[in-house]
Symmetry: C2
Amino acid sequence: MSKAELKKVSDTKITKIVKKGEAIFSEGEKLNGVFCVRDGVSKLSKLSPNGKDQIVKLATQGAVLGQRSVIAEETSNLSAVAVKDMEVCFIPKNIIEETLNSNPDFAVEVLRHMAHDLKEADDVIVNMSQKTVKQRVAEAFIYLRDNFGEDKEGYLSLTLSREDIANVVGTATESAIRIISDFKKLGLIKTSGKMIGIYDEKRLLEMAKGH
Amino acid sequence: MSKAELKKVSDTKITKIVKKGEAIFSEGEKLNGVFCVRDGVSKLSKLSPNGKDQIVKLATQGAVLGQRSVIAEETSNLSAVAVKDMEVCFIPKNIIEETLNSNPDFAVEVLRHMAHDLKEADDVIVNMSQKTVKQRVAEAFIYLRDNFGEDKEGYLSLTLSREDIANVVGTATESAIRIISDFKKLGLIKTSGKMIGIYDEKRLLEMAKGH
DNA sequence: GTGAAAACATGACAATTGTCAGTTTTCCTA
DNA sequence: TAGGAAAACTGACAATTGTCATGTTTTCAC
């Protein structure tokens, strides 16, 4: 089963609407299938012992949620909550398992995909531990632009709350807000309400790399 | 090919000795196979832009290194350096690929393994971003004890330099050293040269969770 | 054994980041 | 569209962490 075939399967399945703020699944939940994202954006986060949510990944169109847990036959280690109204479809566990066992190509494709996720996770670890909050915020904006695009006025298409930005970056909401203000004063970005637009990509990139 | 069969294959291969401090492979290198750890311990680390090394994982007996890169057909995103004399064996890429394509069970097993690694990576991300350095150091000692054991005098079997400890935890070497001194003063651990032993596991665990 | 290099340790200080306690703005619903 | 809740913002301060400079101990090759 190729990606195209998988898509075909997912096309035939009934899709479900998930409104912004609603959960698709929660940490610790046993999943009996995976979810394909047809539209919208979901944040995948994990609650830390101190009560804060760390966002580990943002998933959009084409992403598959819950794969890891279904394959490892474990409860989910992450929660999935929509940050933009979503359309998702569900593929039951047994279909996944059957296909995995019968079709090596499919397994290898999933494997490749997971290998890629693992590399990304390694990169996040290094960023988290070796970069300053300011650098991580700068990087986050570039990431959001590259992955979700911007509208005609130059604002990021994906609008996250300040709290969500802080949770992506792994810092206190107040710190994130302060840094956003600083960036605005420095002319690196512009804001309008909660929307954020990149003005000076070059300097923002320099900032992300550290001066 | 089951894990046992894989082990058999690896047993027939010529093993190589890697001395403490020597590299098995480096970041950016193209790998034409994977390495099975027969004995010893390797650190998997990634250089951050500011020149510091972040240790992402410690691999010991039974671990397979380079899997991710071979599967994704990418250069390695990590360096592997021995922190304790090692014995490793090499399995060429083409054998891995053939087996992956012909044997669904093998692919599924590798998949499971990678799913597990991915979960661990998510946990590390949360720890890095949401815990204090002190909490992370405490956690590191417990991790080292649980995964590598301790000798009869109660010292951790795996002795890392203070610098390596700092690189696991993602902090400055001086900060790590200071915290180790504090823990010693508090009676949580004992030290003898660079060796470290856990005295009060309960309080160390409390420390790791945050008070 | 001995001397040099590396690793460990400590002090002083500055920079970063978090917390708490508010005020202002925005957004949504009735 | 008014009113109330949630989100965004700001200031003051404390805690954490990094940096630099320096002294001490350990390690290891000769």
